[in-house]
């Protein structure tokens, strides 16, 4: 059902956990549909210095969470905002079709964490339109 790359991220997820006193928090999903993801970020000099995730969900939900943390770690906030759910699925070399919508929300969680960072710090958000795909 899942390819090797997805299984690798599911079985050996990267950056699991929660950053203490994070600069931004993103929480997406809904327990009703069975997937909830929480992303916490640390921002330094406009870059994502550290990122961690916690996810309640299926194999795809966990693998996409893990993959998105790898993709955006060390990136500038603008670069991170350009990473979409689709980018994450592609980086995982594909997800089963039924998982594309319900369990592929990790990039949304990152965007929400960045938005939260901008709101908390009162800094101007450069790429407003980048938030929603």
């Amino acid at each position: 059902m899942y390819n090797e790359k997805v299984m690798d991220h599911f079985m050996n997820p990267r950056n699991v956990g929660e950053i203490e006193n994070p600069d931004g928090v993103g929480l997406v999903g809904n327990p009703v549909c069975g997937d909830v993801m929480k992303i916490t970020i640390k921002v330094k000099d406009g870059r994502i210095e550290d990122i961690k995730f916690k996810t309640f969900g299926c194999g795809a939900a966990i693998a996409t969470s893990s993959m998105v943390t790898e993709l955006v770690k060390g990136k500038t906030l603008d670069e991170a905002l350009e990473i979409s759910n689709k980018t994450v699925a592609e980086a995982l070399e594909g997800l089963p079709p039924q998982k594309m919508h319900c369990s592929n929300l990790a990039a949304d969680a990152v965007h929400m964490a960045i938005k939260d960072y901008y709101e908390k710090t009162g800094k101007v958000q450069v790429a407003e339109e980048g938030i929603h795909e």
Partner: protein, 392 residues
């Protein structure tokens, strides 16, 4: 099967999904593919040979459920038998009334058939269940109107294992002269199934859940019960189901029934002990786990446990890597956005329903298998919980 990277043994715990064909059954079937290939409707010796085999199987199956052989109609499986029963009665009695009664926790073969009939203009009442997945016969009684022509309530619930009070519902149906159908696909071979004790007019059974082949099942039709055929053609199966009989499949189903009936008292006791070892082992070692379904009135081979704060598919994938096959009522495994309709009918919160784990035991399972699961499962849950948004 090359994905069991961590497996130290293979443990199949999904016997409610399907079972392997047992050796005796396969041996009984084999001659009927090539050597004894005749069509039971033919008049010559090849045909007569096949007819004898089909009739013998019909007797074995009838004997297993306390019916007369003439009351057994072979179908392609449980789903077709459910369709024949429900659509067959609805179409046959639609001039008498347009109200049908079933429950919220039926198998999709029943539920979706009723939903289709509702679209065609029938009124359908779906009676609820309690927190243990048990239907109250009184709810069925209260649902009856002058228009009611059919009641369909399952025997053993396929997901949570709860055994329904079909005998009482059968009495109610008889008092009101309403046709009563029950899906006994999961209970056959596990607990006594007797058409007179249950008071059913129609009963669905299937071969591949009792170590017989896939693609064959049967509908018991009590003498005098009028149903409209759903597959038309020749005069097979008392004109209720046209099509040349699946002779090897029917022979296998017969042999599987005979063996199941013979071994049930001992095998059910053995499975019940293993099941309780599994259930108690999980509930005692993994915090925040709950048993779904009735603690006593449940099928001897069914364990259904919700593991809070984690999602079912994630557990299944991990178990699979350890060589353990189980199933879940989570949305991800049902192919929809909603978790199991059965767990939701039991008013189990969505979050807990997503973490449900169904393990159904069978002939191959041993105490060592159960102990292996009890060793492997706790660290899987611990790992997933450490990752989860919920719980800690």
């Amino acid at each position: 099967m090359n994905t069991h990277s961590n497996a130290r043994r293979l443990v199949y715990l999904d016997h409610s999904a399907t079972t392997p064909v047992r050796a005796e059954v396969l041996a009984a079937m084999l001659p009927y593919f090539a050597d004894k290939f005749g069509n039971p409707s033919s008049i010559h010796s090849w045909g007569r040979e096949a007819r004898v085999a089909v009739d013998a199987a019909r007797e074995q199956i009838a004997s297993a459920i306390g019916a007369n052989p003439q009351e057994i109609i072979f179908t392609s499986g449980g789903t077709e038998a459910d369709n024949l029963a429900i659509r067959g009665v609805a179409q046959s009695l639609k001039d008498k009334g347009n109200h049908l009664i079933t429950s919220q926790i039926e198998h999709h073969a029943v539920l979706n058939t009723f939903q289709d009939l509702a679209k065609q203009g029938f009124k359908v009442t779906y009676v609820p269940c309690d927190e243990y997945g048990m239907i109250d016969p009184d709810d069925v009684r209260k649902a009856i109107t002058d228009e009611t022509i059919l009641i369909s309530i399952m025997h053993g619930q396929n997901e949570v294992g709860t055994i329904q009070p079909v005998e009482e519902i059968g009495k109610i149906a008889r008092e009101r002269n309403i046709i009563f159908h029950s899906d006994a696909v999961q209970s056959l071979g596990k607990i006594p199934v007797n058409v007179d004790a249950m008071g059913v007019d129609l009963l669905t059974i299937s071969s591949h859940k009792i170590y017989g082949p896939k693609g064959v099942g049967a509908l018991y039709v009590r003498k005098g019960t009028k149903i409209k055929p759903q597959v038309t053609g020749g005069i097979h199966e008392r004109r209720l189901r046209a099509g040349t009989e699946n002779v090897p499949g029917i022979v296998g189903f017969g042999e599987a029934c005979r063996l199941a009936q013979q071994e049930m008292p001992e095998e059910s006791k053995r499975l019940r002990e293993l099941r309780d070892r599994l259930i108690n082992g999980i509930l005692n070692t993994i915090p925040d786990t709950v048993l779904n379904g009735h603690p006593e009135k449940r099928l001897p081979h069914n364990a259904n446990i919700s593991v809070k704060y984690v999602e079912g598919e994630a557990i299944l994938l991990n178990l699979d890597l350890f060589g353990i096959g189980a199933s879940s009522g989570s949305a991800c495994t049902s192919g929809s956005l909603e978790p199991s309709h059965v767990l939701l009918a039991m008013k189990i919160p969505h979050e807990t329903a997503h973490g449900s784990l169904r393990m159904t035991l069978g002939r191959s399972n041993t105490k060592e298998d159960i102990d292996y699961v009890l060793e492997v499962l706790p660290p899987i849950v611990e790992k997933l919980r450490a990752m989860s948004v919920f719980g800690n």
